[in-house]
């Protein structure tokens, strides 16, 4: 089966005022439809860097990033928005909702980028919110939502464009355990029901049971891979 996404021998070296920081030192990883992949590792090990390179919001120093069969590692900056729009949905630790927009409007922004506007966007936004069990919060501003609710709106927003890959950086870190579980359940069901791949960066050991595969990263290298027993 061809992977949805593959990174091959990816390195990333940041320039810290002249001193090179080797955040990634040759990472190989393939992502398949329907799987939930957990990326575990200590602080500073390169998790966010890897996630950003996979999501095409950061350019690798060397190596290949193959999305939809095409290597985009060296693609021109102006070609990348289309790649991100088509393939990726991001979920952030800090939610990153637009504070001035209601829950439904937040989702509509993502739809708008896909060219869906007006009534069609409103209908699709309400459906997406219903899918995360927040139909009744459609016209609430983020400030009036709980952390768990905000993250569910963010997931609805990430899904609105119907991407094949969801990239989530510490999605439960800012949540209490009940909300965290709800969010993980949601991400889990996205993968199994819709043939998406979900990558979750986490510190949270409680999330391990949701994973199909756990990849440990240490000092910019993949240290071990564990397949979950179904």
């Amino acid at each position: 089966m061809t992977p949805l996404l593959a990174v091959e021998q990816v390195t990333k070296t940041y320039d810290m005022g002249g001193a090179p920081v080797h955040a990634l030192r040759g990472v190989d990883l393939a992502l398949h439809a329907g799987e939930v992949l957990l990326l575990l590792g200590p602080s500073g090990s390169g998790k966010t860097t890897l996630l950003s390179i996979m999501g095409c919001i950061l350019q690798a120093t060397s190596g290949k990033v193959i999305v939809g069969g095409r290597d985009v590692a060296r693609a021109a900056e102006r070609d990348l928005p289309a790649v991100r729009l088509r393939h990726f949905g991001f979920v952030f630790q800090g939610f990153n909702l637009f504070p001035a927009l209601t829950a439904a409007e937040n989702v509509e922004v993502a739809l708008g980028l896909k060219g869906v506007r007006g009534r069609a966007a409103r209908t699709a936004a309400l459906e997406a919110l219903a899918a995360v069990d927040l139909a009744d919060k459609a016209s609430a501003l983020p400030a009036n939502l709980s952390g768990g609710q905000k993250q569910r709106v963010a997931i609805a927003r990430a899904l609105a464009g119907d991407p094949s890959i969801i990239l989530a950086d510490e999605p439960t870190a800012a949540l209490d355990s009940t909300s965290g579980q709800l969010v993980m359940d949601l991400l889990r069901s996205l993968a199994s029901r819709h043939e998406r791949a979900v990558v979750i960066v986490t510190h949270d050991s409680r999330t391990i049971r949701y994973a199909d595969r756990i990849v440990a990263i240490e000092d910019g290298r993949l240290a071990s891979t564990t397949e979950a027993v179904a």
């Binding site: 860097t49 919001i57 102006r78 928005p81 991001f90 952030f92 637009f98 001035a100 922004v109």
Partner: protein, 373 residues
């Protein structure tokens, strides 16, 4: 895009109020300072611009109206004999000492003209008849400076250079750049006040016959010796240049205007920059969501230009109110349409520029910006 920009702006009312305040302040400051500069500049040449003459004949090398030296009136007869010349009228303009009815002294700018003539007459006359100036020792003063001159009503008597000066009329809104108020009198009276000989003049005002070419007449008059011949526009510009760029007072006004612009530009740029950077994480999120740079520029520019336009509208309204109120005083603030338009363009330009500078932060998106908790 439109609604995201608009809602971003109006969501945080306090932030928005701060942004608008910065822009309003800048627009008022720049408009008033530039308006003052234009007001002063116009005031220096008010009596030239309103003279109705086509050409001015003054002593050779004269740089400003108040600094001309006397020449003989035979030049007037020679000028009159030049083809294309319709009228030649004699003129005196000089600083003089005004002794108020209560005895206090004030400097004045005394303008002597020919009451029976057509050129260089006072305008905006609100009381009295210009022909009354044909009587000896009579003057017109401006209402704006009535207090300063200690004048409250017609018929009052002051002194100029030791001679009686009876107030027989008022004008309204004739200003000078210096602190010396304008006082109109007849050419003959002015000769007395300044102790000029009867055959001496300080300037000649010339009008050409209808249809005559002013430049051709000017060239013909150039044959006159020991005098310069300027068109009214040239002379006005020379006068303005002398006062605004050649004197300390003018330079002060010029510097104030320049500072007004600089401070205004800096405050607008800083305000818009801060307002944009405030939303930087949202723009980073948009980028991660697949928005093109063009889309993000659109949102940012729309936010900046909306703030700029609203701030400009409020600021210009205040500045125009101040300018209108200033018409009642001795210092006029002039806001011609071109100035209002230029400041509109400058405000929006600065808003666009400042927001684009902050956009650079987004287009080189640092993932840390969006992933931080």
């Amino acid at each position: 895009m439109a609604s995201l920009a608009r809602k971003n702006l109006f969501h945080d009312r306090v932030r928005f109020a701060v942004t608008l305040t910065g822009i309003v302040f800048s627009v008022v400051l720049a408009t008033v300072q530039l308006g003052l500069f234009l007001g002063f500049t116009a005031a220096t040449a008010d009596v030239i611009d309103h003279s109705g003459a086509d050409l001015w004949i003054v002593s050779t090398g004269a740089t400003h109206l108040e600094g001309v030296t006397a020449f003989g009136e035979q030049q007037a007869f020679r000028a009159m004999a030049t083809p294309g010349v319709a009228r030649v009228e004699k003129r005196v303009v000089q600083f003089g000492q005004w002794k108020r009815p209560d005895g206090a002294q004030e400097g004045v700018l005394l303008v002597g003209f020919e009451p029976a003539g057509e050129l260089g007459r006072p305008w905006n006359v609100v009381a009295g008849d210009v022909r009354a100036l044909e009587q000896a020792d009579t003057v017109f003063v401006d209402e704006l400076y009535a207090d300063k001159l200690g004048v409250t009503h017609l018929g009052q008597t002051a002194e100029i250079g030791g001679y009686r000066a009876r107030v027989v009329g008022f004008t309204r809104g004739i200003r000078t750049f210096t602190t010396a108020p304008p006082v109109f009198t007849s050419f003959k009276n002015a000769q007395n006040y300044f102790g000029l000989r009867e055959d001496q003049v300080l300037a000649l005002l010339v009008s050409v016959t209808p249809g005559a070419d002013v430049a051709a007449v000017q060239r013909a008059l150039a044959a006159l010796r020991d005098v310069d011949v300027h068109t009214t526009a040239e002379w006005s510009r020379r006068q303005q240049t002398y006062w605004m760029f050649g004197t300390g007072a003018g330079i002060t006004v010029l510097i104030a205007a320049a500072l007004g612009i600089i401070v205004g530009v800096v405050v607008v740029a800083q305000t818009i920059y801060a307002a944009t950077v405030d939303h930087i994480r949202e723009f980073g999120t948009l980028k991660a969501m697949g928005a093109t740079n063009g889309f993000i520029y659109g949102v940012i520019l729309q936010q900046a230009l909306t703030s700029g336009a609203l701030g400009y509208a409020a600021g210009m309204a205040i500045a125009l109110a101040v300018a209108t109120a200033s018409q009642q005083g001795t210092t006029a603030i002039l806001v011609p349409p071109w100035l209002a338009l230029a400041l509109f363009a400058l405000t929006l330009g600065m808003c666009a520029l400042a927001s684009i500078v902050s956009i650079n932060k987004v287009t080189r998106l640092d993932p840390a910006m969006v992933f931080k908790g």
